[in-house]
């Protein structure tokens, strides 16, 4: 415990007040130092480093607008659709709050996808930042749950049938699936019970978890320190006071820097809210302006854009694709046994494991493997810190062909996202199957491919030109 500090009776009223608080709540002052005024961030942050702060801003926007929406919304299957229209038409300025919330959902994913891609580019997930990355992936999962459950609340056609499809994903799990889906819905089809519990999760349960994870993400980050575009540990070069030579205090340097980014972001955000809140059917789908009808699925249903890459992977797993995947499993196991320098026991385990997986793939429906692919595509991100064997962190010092590989990865991810918005077609199916194989190949083969090529020499100090 800190000692009680006396202050000169001649001090100003402001200084006396500060001292009064500092003696009674020193933790708040310590935290300000640790996280703001004495948190040394690398001075060479570029454009990619604004998305973390922007994600915090969007989180605040979502919480504040959400609180106000709940004041008028009715979580009841008979009233929900009408209450959203009531907010849009009759509540003064209700349309603005609602569009802020619906656009905020999409903005959240834009910002978070870019934030994650930054991590991928500069190796921000690598030692000692594994936990920062894992907390981040958990935040991403929470966001997906938030977005999915929130989308049911307007109780439009897309809300209803989207929820129907996703809840039925759980029914594909062998043995317990149908009971699990029943437990999630609380009825034999998506209905009032489902709407009520999704409302509860959306406004209370998941946001609480999300906030906890954001705190964990930031604490872990501030303990190990931020990475930077050069992927150099700035803590390795300190001055005689123990302050990193390439570090600058987060406040005021990056707070001011981020205010600029916030202004830029709010310009785009407002433009969307005022001029294109539905964003051509991508942010709010047209079919969702029709009340939910349990007897009629809309002719074309697709999830909102941020789920479509994963949705494409779900659709890509057909019976044929399962055969291809079996070939991959057999091939990988054969390669490990023949080429791998492993003890005989491990090789035996690999053969048995592969045989079990192949037997399961043959006996369980392709539908279940589609669900596994969709979930696996997100879960695999958690393991990224242990998949990357490259000797350097940042893309700047990796072999040049890595840049092309990352570019192909981005293009394929965007193609998968596009295909997920489109009605099913034979060509689209083939392309999404190739895309799915590439996506998983990129991560699963990363321990192998990331070792190859000549890494460029990494400097000891960051690249920085004062502006």
């Amino acid at each position: 415990m800190a000692d009680f500090k006396e202050i000169s009776p001649n001090a100003s009223a402001g200084a006396k007040l500060t001292n009064w608080f500092e003696n009674r709540l020193p933790t708040a002052f310590d935290m300000y130092k640790v996280h703001m005024s004495e948190y040394y961030a690398p001075k060479n942050f570029n454009f990619w480093y604004i998305f973390g702060s922007l994600a915090m801003l969007v989180l605040v926007i979502q919480i504040v607008t959400g609180i106000f929406l709940v004041m008028h919304y009715k979580p009841d299957a008979a009233l929900a659709f009408g209450s959203v229209e009531y907010i849009m038409r009759d509540v003064p300025w209700g349309w603005l709050i609602r569009y802020m919330h619906s656009t905020g959902a999409s903005a959240f994913f834009v910002v978070v996808y870019l934030h994650m891609f930054r991590g991928l580019l500069y190796g921000s997930y690598r030692k000692p930042r594994e936990l920062v990355w894992i907390f981040g992936c958990a935040i991403f999962l929470c966001l997906m749950a938030e977005a999915f459950m929130g989308y049911l609340l307007p109780w439009g056609q897309m809300s209803y049938w989207g929820a129907q499809v996703i809840v039925n994903l759980f029914a594909a799990v062998p043995f317990v699936g149908p009971d699990l889906a029943l437990l999630i819905r609380g009825d034999y089809v998506v209905g009032d019970a489902t709407l009520n519990r999704f409302f509860s999760f959306h406004v209370i349960a998941v946001p609480l978890v999300l906030l906890g994870l954001v705190v964990a993400h930031l604490m872990a980050l501030h303990d190990v320190g931020s990475n930077n575009p050069d992927g150099i540990e700035i803590k390795a070069t300190k001055d005689d006071k123990g302050i990193p030579l390439d570090g600058i205090p987060f406040h005021p340097y990056y707070t001011v820097h981020d205010i600029f980014a916030v202004c830029m972001f709010l310009m785009v955000f407002s433009a969307v809210i005022f001029f294109a809140p539905e964003f051509g059917g991508y942010f709010l789908e047209y079919n969702n302006f029709i009340p939910a009808d349990p007897l009629k699925t809309p002719l074309h249903i697709a999830p909102v854009w941020y789920f479509t890459p994963f949705y494409s992977m779900l659709r890509a797993i057909t019976d044929e694709m399962v055969l291809v995947l079996i070939a991959c499993v057999v091939g990988a196991a054969a390669l490990a046994v023949i080429k791998g320098k492993l003890p005989a026991i491990v090789k035996g385990a690999i053969v048995i494991g592969a045989a079990v997986v192949v037997a399961m793939m043959l006996s369980i429906d392709a539908k279940f493997w589609g669900v596994v692919a969709m979930g696996g595509a997100v879960v695999i991100l958690f393991f990224l810190p242990w998949l990357d064997n490259s000797p350097v962190k940042s893309i700047r010092y990796r072999p040049s062909w890595h840049k092309y590989l990352y570019a192909v990865f981005v293009v394929i991810f965007v193609i998968l996202a596009y295909l997920g918005t489109q009605p099913p077609s034979p060509i689209g199916e083939r392309v999404s199957q190739v895309g799915t194989l590439f996506y998983f190949g990129f991560f699963l083969l990363m321990p192998w491919w990331s070792r190859f090529g000549e890494a460029k020499p990494v400097p000891t100090r960051v690249n920085f030109a004062a502006h």
Partner: protein, 204 residues
Amino acid sequence: MSASLVDIQPSDPSKRTWLIASSCAGAVGVGAAAVPFVSTFQPSERAKAAGAAVEVDIGAMKPGEKLTVEWRGKPVWIVRRTPEQLASLAKNTPQLADPESKRKPSELTPEYARNEARSIKPEYFVAVGICTHLGCSPSDKFQPGAQPSLPDDWQGGFLCPCHGSTFDLAGRVFKNKPAPDNLEVPPHMFLSDSKLLIGEDKKA
């Protein structure tokens, strides 16, 4: 506290036993307390009671028409098939995943519907209009011939808009589609020539 101090002090085995025992008892208590919370997720008594059978008048249906009624919150289709549509069923057989309705017969196809037309009277096809993939309701594609999202030798049937599964006019799923099974034929019976009861059959 230095490490050597810990080594010298002998641990008290009975204290440890009690610690473990009380932790286990605590875990059991927490587990038991979770039961009522998780149980609230189950369908309520009211939801369970809402599963009564539905009576439908099919006297006014013309050949080629489809009627949708709600049973247990799900859409149930009644299609009065034309002789041409019935004749087309056989042509699909080689392309179907389960033409004889052998998979999960107890859940999907009652005994009286285990035939090519999957119906009691070949003319009237009754099925739950929920895709066996992920629960969308397939849309009618009764018109034969080539059209978007369908093969060129299409004989008429249903297309699921969500993931492109296709079913023939007896609700039988085509091969190599996301949906694993044929559409469910609900228990049903004819009360008279123009009255159909959905949700109950003679067995019940």
